[in-house]
Symmetry: C2
DNA sequence: AAATTTGTTAACGTATACATTAAATGAATG
DNA sequence: CATTCATTTAATGTATACGTTAACAAATTT
């Protein structure tokens, strides 16, 4: 068993990211480097390095002498980020379709669709959400643009908490499932225009839905 | 005179970025933390922090025990990055047009166009390049999506060296100037579809032009 | 000679000490 | 009372020491 130890810096990055996603470090909360260091059981140095990295990812801000602040998302920002995600995923959808992938290469997509449909039947929203994210990531992979992929992954991280919050307040995602299948069909047919159009409609709808939920529930900063 | 001192970490980030842009730290070159620290006249700590930040920006890679490597751009990557830039700037162009900005708000755009036209007349490519970048940044600003803006700025940084290399090997950018003016007109008219279409054609053309130049001159890693 | 092992070196990762400086507190002044 | 200024405090920014470990070289074995 090649049990390879990670450096504390990498561990701190992962741990802090996890604490942010889970809400244990809540949006807009502030934390001193020394607190975090104690919490993670290491010295300030690797924690400091981790906060720099996470600041670059937009998950927190380093505010000297006020502590590290966990970035909150407003409905406005959610909308902005979804706009970017829409533009990039639609590009990936078109590229994926035009690449002429054989059905075998699209197995991951179809697998996710099946999982989403299963999850919807029993209203398991957490499982649906997981499969949905996997689907979107698989789509981006098929697009084949590594730089695009990186941004999309990062932007998904930024809205992760907000999306989780809306997950149980949104209608059953049956419409989403239909959209995904339509996209899959378009990619399989090699129809780039349709793939892009279908996905744009899907993402735009989701954006409007989720921002409306945030606003309706008064979730100013999530 | 509020001469506010910057931290060494911030200074190191800026200095290293400058050294990378200028080519003093060439693409694919490797540098130990201690070397860089000596070079910048500070200890390893702030240099290390700076390299983490710049790694997040994709300007370099931290490779333990092999030194920090300056990221090189291949024609393929150039193309990928321009694809992303195209998607995002086209979105910004559409949004800017639909926002119905009065002519006064578009003064910065027009100023850049004039500068580009002037520079083209006397074949001052450096001045043209500067005005071109200003134009694109102004466009992104008008789009009003701060998250989108951040990515575009970063991606421009990543291709900066490559773009500078092609600057003197490309044809006179008279076509670009026409494109910019057509985009300006569309935004002024509030014509989102045209703004997006014009800019997509412009960016796509530029992408093909620049990647072709890189390949033609055998510039594998820039 | 090729491959494996061992030893050496030097770069990194981390803790820590300390200098620096922004913020907070309280005193002094108008 | 509000304001300014000095003082204190505590968190950060930086240098540095040192243990750890990957890379390289030398030595040994097959």
């Amino acid at each position: 068993m090649n049990k390879r130890e990670k450096s504390n810096t990498l561990a701190a990055i992962e741990e802090l990211r996890g604490l942010i996603f889970s809400g244990e470090l809540p949006a807009d909360s502030n934390h001193l480097e020394s607190e975090l260091a104690t919490r993670l059981g290491m010295s300030r140095t690797p924690v400091r390095e981790a906060t720099l990295v996470l600041a670059g990812e937009g998950l927190l801000e380093v505010r000297p002498r006020k502590g590290v602040r966990i970035c909150a998302i407003s409905a406005r920002e959610m909308s902005e980020i979804y706009e970017v995600l829409t533009a990039l995923e639609c590009l990936a959808a078109r590229t994926a379709a035009l690449a002429g992938h054989p059905q075998s290469k699209l197995a991951s997509l179809e697998g996710c669709i099946l999982k989403m449909e299963q999850a919807t039947k029993i209203d398991d929203r957490v499982a649906w959400s997981k499969a949905d994210e996997d689907f979107h990531n698989a789509l981006i992979s098929l697009g084949g643009n590594a730089h695009l992929q990186r941004i999309v992954l990062n932007f998904n991280d930024r809205v992760r908490r907000a999306r989780n919050l809306t997950l149980h307040r949104r209608p059953l995602p049956t419409k989403s499932n239909e959209d995904h299948r339509a996209l899959y069909d378009a990619i399989l047919r090699g129809d780039g225009d349709t793939a892009e159009a279908v996905h744009r409609a899907h993402r735009t709808h989701t954006r409007e839905l989720l921002t409306a939920i945030l606003e309706k529930h008064g979730l100013k900063r999530v």
